[in-house]
């Protein structure tokens, strides 16, 4: 099996943490992985993305070709749409529905949501709002990972959940528990939806 995933968002929203959790789970499971990141200038509030490629077979390219991505996982709705040319026809878009408006010409929300709904396979949720409701504003990214978990397929939700335990272990059991709870909130939100 092969899964090509584009992670997107705005600098500082924590997409690299999502990549780290998936990457750790893949390495533990013995699945091949390549993950291209963006460092440097664009991290200052600009658009950021990471190409994450998982496969049972050898992976050559660090980048995903256009029309080849199985999923776009995005912390921000407009940023999900930025990478649409990379999505394959049957691909899924899993995104936060909370806009991050740090530019003056940010599109009207209604137009934005309509554009998202035009995609055949899309899951969206106001994850920032959900994270605040549960008093875990810093865990919005892990809620998003939970939402995406059942679509990743090459790794099970359980493998991802365990990976969260290892990735956050150094920060103590409280942080681990909170992030696993955030993951479950995302996972269940999709199950119920």
């Amino acid at each position: 099996m092969r899964k090509d995933i584009i992670l997107s968002g705005v600098g500082g929203q924590g997409i690299l943490t999502i990549a780290t959790i998936i990457g750790e789970a893949a390495t533990t499971a013995g699945i091949n992985l390549k993950q291209a990141e963006v460092h440097g200038m664009s991290q200052r509030g600009g658009d950021v993305q990471s190409n994450l490629r998982l496969s049972d077979e050898k992976i050559y390219s660090d980048l995903i070709a256009q029309g080849e991505a199985d999923m776009i996982i995005s912390m921000e709705p407009m940023e999900a749409l930025r990478y649409l040319p990379y999505l394959r026809e049957e691909g899924w878009v899993i995104t936060s529905a909370n806009p991050y408006k740090n530019i003056s010409d940010y599109p009207e929300e209604e137009r934005l949501m309509r554009a998202l709904e035009d995609i055949p396979h899309v899951v969206k949720l106001e994850i920032e709002d959900v994270a605040k409701e549960h008093n875990m504003p810093k865990c919005a990214n892990v809620i998003l990972l939970g939402m995406a978990a059942k679509y990743i397929e090459i790794l099970s939700p359980q493998q991802l959940r365990e990976s969260i335990g290892r990735v956050f272990a150094a920060k103590g059991s409280k942080v681990v528990e909170m992030n696993q709870k955030a993951f479950d909130i995302g996972l269940n939100a999709v199950k119920n939806g």
């Binding site: 705005v10 600098g11 990457g23 750790e24 390495t27 091949n32 992985l33 390549k34 993950q35 291209a36 990141e37 963006v38 460092h39 440097g40 200038m41 664009s42 991290q43 200052r44 509030g45 600009g46 658009d47 190409n51 992976i59 050559y60 390219s61 660090d62 980048l63 995903i64 070709a65 256009q66 029309g67 080849e68 407009m78 940023e79 749409l81 930025r82 649409l84 040319p85 999505l87 394959r88 026809e89 740090n102 530019i103 003056s104 010409d105 940010y106 599109p107 137009r111 934005l112 554009a115 995609i119 920060k171 103590g172």
Partner: protein, 538 residues
């Protein structure tokens, strides 16, 4: 099975260098090379071995210190981004003339597509210019494995080795299997003064010896485990053969060739393996060169093959002349049909990076814009760092940004020509990197310029590395001869706006060199420290 570690290309290089027995890394931060030195700084084995890993003031001091470590018999690594090679070039080119004692690897991280850079120069030209071997890994595993190979090669040829990577390798993670760990070299300073004292008489002999070594370099390339010709069927004539350099190889390997058999010559060591190129070309109708960066190989291949042999690549627009390789443009060049079920969304707007909320540079630009509005002829010369973002809205404050340190010297030149006011804005780390010499020129010429050293106590753009001049700026400026009453320090906060604008006005009106130092810690490093403190308490 050996343990697999998930490493960035940069981290694989760092670990490979540690395992190859380096005694030190010398570097100035620069995207996409920064994580190499950071990894060594945080490595427990490097700490245990007390490997040198503190940041250098600039790439030239780094290159020279690394050469000194090599002179002393130990293995050294020097890392920089591509434009850093311009700064290090004097030492770099001459290190090929002196040769090395302990192994010396120069790592240049190129940035095709200019993700975080002001040009996309290709460092392989520097390697050819200096006439030394160049390595260009195609994967994180190769980057790791190549470090030991590079040091062995360097010590065997007694030459520095240039290793060239690009952003997409440097900043991409993959599983890497690690090898045995080698001991450091013993201290063994070179006694051969005729190699190291580059008086013309010695330099001529050394240069002649370097020229004579070139055959050995070519032989090493043709035997290299990192260069290989695959898929060439001697019995038939292939329509197309591909020369795939560095990570270009990966994109070629991913193309679905619809059953067409396309031989690939993978090139990861230079000088080019000339015989292999001729051998592949003779079995193929034409050749496509796939290389990230400038058409370095393509131009050479045209010279190697007969003039009527068709060579395609960036020069023929088969691949774009500018920008990085992607699976898409390589796929198209080989003839893959790209299926894009979804087009570009019309709703998406550009989201450029911006200065952080609460950043001191913001207050500096607010103040500068206020004063500049009173002088319609004012020109503000910027420099390289976070504060380059002052060029974008809402500030639109700077008129130029060229290279490290150019703010001060360009302001001086413009002032010499009659521009008034001529104001330079430079960060603390950039000032010590390449601004100090320009300030001395300005002082010696009594230039009428105002220099703003926006001091956030760190090298912020690359992620908050130590800045060489922290706590020394007033002393440096006074030492260079700036008048004490014209070295002014302010705290860039909105509540101090009146004082800051008043001081800028006064210093603009002063006919001579003045330096204003707005000083407030970078909010990124400040927040990191606060988080760390909080975590330590818990």
């Amino acid at each position: 099975m050996t343990e697999k570690k998930l490493l960035l290309g940069d981290e694989a290089i760092a670990l490979g260098a540690i395992h190859a027995g380096i005694s030190g890394v010398y570097a100035y931060p620069g995207t996409p090379s920064t994580e190499i030195t950071e990894f060594i700084q945080n490595s427990s084995l490097a700490k245990e071995r007390k490997l040198h890993s503190t940041w250098c003031t600039n790439e030239k001091t780094a290159m020279e210190a690394a050469l000194g470590m090599s002179y002393a018999g130990k293995r050294a690594l020097v890392c920089m981004k591509h434009v850093g090679m311009n700064v290090a070039a004097d030492a770099f080119v001459n290190s090929a003339i002196t040769g090395v004692n302990g192994g010396l690897v120069v790592l240049a991280a190129d940035d095709p597509s200019m993700h975080s850079s002001q040009n996309e120069q290709d460092s392989r030209f520097y390697g050819k210019f200096a006439m030394i071997p160049i390595l260009e890994p195609s994967s994180q595993q190769e980057a790791y494995d190549m470090m030991d190979y590079a040091y062995t090669l360097s010590e065997h040829l007694r030459l520095p080795v240039l290793m060239r990577v690009v952003t997409r390798l440097a900043h991409s993670r993959a599983g890497v299997e690690v090898a045995a760990i080698r001991e450091e070299n013993p201290l063994n300073p070179d006694n051969e003064r005729t190699h190291w004292v580059l008086l013309p008489g010695n330099a001529r002999r050394q240069y002649q010896a370097l020229v004579e070594k070139q055959n050995e370099l070519e032989e090493s390339s043709s035997k290299s485990p990192y260069n290989c010709l695959e898929g060439l069927d001697q019995g038939c004539k292939h329509e197309l053969g591909v020369i795939a350099c560095g990570i270009g190889y990966n994109y070629v390997k991913e193309v679905d060739t619809d059953g067409r058999s396309i031989p690939i010559l993978k090139v990861s060591q230079y000088p080019l393996p000339v015989e292999e190129i001729r051998r592949m070309a003779s079995g193929c109708g034409h050749v496509l060169v796939v290389e990230d960066g400038q058409p370095f190989v393509e131009e050479q291949v045209r010279a190697i093959l007969s003039s009527d042999y068709e060579v395609k690549g960036r020069l023929t627009n088969t691949l774009p002349r500018t920008g990085e390789l992607t699976p898409d443009n390589v796929g198209e060049a080989i003839g893959r049909n790209i299926k894009r079920p979804f087009g570009n969304s019309q709703v998406v707007m550009p989201r450029p990076p911006a200065l952080c909320q609460g950043c001191g540079h913001r207050d500096v630009y607010d103040a500068l814009n206020k004063v500049a509005a009173e002088y319609p002829d004012a020109r503000i010369f910027g420099d390289i760092g976070c504060y380059t973002l002052g060029a974008l809205p809402p500030f639109r404050a700077i008129d130029s940004c060229v290279d490290m340190g150019a703010s001060i010297t360009m302001a001086k030149g413009a002032s010499d020509a009659g521009v008034f006011p001529a104001i330079a804005v430079i960060g603390d780390s950039t000032f010590t990197h390449s601004g100090m010499t320009g300030l001395l020129d300005a002082v010696n010429d009594r230039a009428n310029i105002t220099v703003i050293i926006s001091d956030n106590l760190t090298t912020a753009m690359t992620g908050g590395q130590d800045s060489a001049g922290t706590n020394k700026f007033e002393a440096i400026c006074l030492g260079l001869g700036v008048e004490p009453e014209h070295v002014r320090v302010v705290v860039p906060l909105p509540k101090n706006m009146e004082e800051i604008t008043r001081i800028i006005r006064q210093e603009v009106e002063y006919k001579g060199v003045s330096v204003i130092i707005p000083r407030r810690e970078c909010i990124q490093t400040l927040n990191r420290k606060l988080r760390q403190k909080k975590a330590d308490k818990e």
